[in-house]
Amino acid sequence: MLRRAAALASILLAAGTAGAAAQQYPMRTPAPKTTSLPQLRALARTREISERFTMGVADEQRGEYAAAIPEFERIAALRPPEPEYSTAQYDLGIAYANTGRPADAAAAFQSAIAADPGFLAAMANLIAVELAAGNVNAARAAADKFVKAAPDSARALYSRGIVALQQNDLATARTDFSQLLKSDPRYALGHYDLGVTESRAGRWNSAEREFLLALDLAPGYARARFALGTVLLREGRRSDARSQFDRVVRDPNGDVALQSLAQAMRDAIHAP
């Protein structure tokens, strides 16, 4: 009798546990429990969006961007609620950008931001596609928005700094690279870009300091070494400059064009 009661109790306990587990992990798309045509259509639409997302993202992860385009175009046309609409536009932008359609990519990222004004990844990608298309002013507008939305973001500060340098807006470039380096002082490229900014402003001492910091962090950073050589030359330290160019010639870190340039510079400076 006792044994039977124990067996019954264990069965009931197991059933209860299974029920609880099912409650914890509900099905993503519940089985239809209606014969209403509008409700069945809505369920089918939800299912279609989900399936297309799965396929489109998988296509992009495999690098098959052309195949991803119709999936995300269809989702966008169905106009799902947030966050699906802005996400579909974002993914569509990536697919367009990787199939040589930068204008369409920019429009898709802009649609994503319009639907979700805090969408930082879409802002980041919008800057990249605008720059790739040569639309520096549009890239700057996107970068300003990105920095305003995320003032501590390394990517926002770096991107706007690069755009500002292209526009010769040295004050903004200096502010952004300096701010980036406050959060991440070990980023060698940040020091290099700040050095380029200071060079363009004719602030040779500051430029030299930044290039030296970049080289402390990354001794094989040939472009920073070349830049240091140019600053030393401007400061009239010809022998030191020649030595830096010579080091770039010997260790160009795979940059053949820079190696040729450094060789020409080294050979142009009269030996002491």
């Binding site: 997302f53 980036l180 870190n253 340039l261 142009a268």
Partner: protein, 76 residues
């Protein structure tokens, strides 16, 4: 006009201590290009940017270059 340009070139050459200062100036500027534009952030699943561990959105907001997926130096 040509004479004044030549005079400027000669002055610059004297300052830097080598011949052909005009072409050298071009080389100096040519070697001082900013670093690369960051690449595109990757796709996002239907859960959206606020979903748990959405890597592209986390990278866009990150405070450091490494977490922000910013350009790195080419490996040797």
């Amino acid at each position: 006009m040509l004479l004044s340009l030549a005079a400027c070139g000669a002055f610059a050459a004297a300052c830097y201590g080598f011949a052909g200062a005009g072409s050298v100036e071009g080389m100096l500027q040519g070697g001082l290009t900013p670093s690369a534009v960051p690449g595109l952030l990757g796709p996002i699943t239907e859960g959206g940017r606020l979903a748990w561990e959405c890597k592209p959105e986390i990278a866009a907001a990150a405070r450091t270059a490494d977490q922000g997926d910013l350009p790195v130096l080419p490996a040797k």
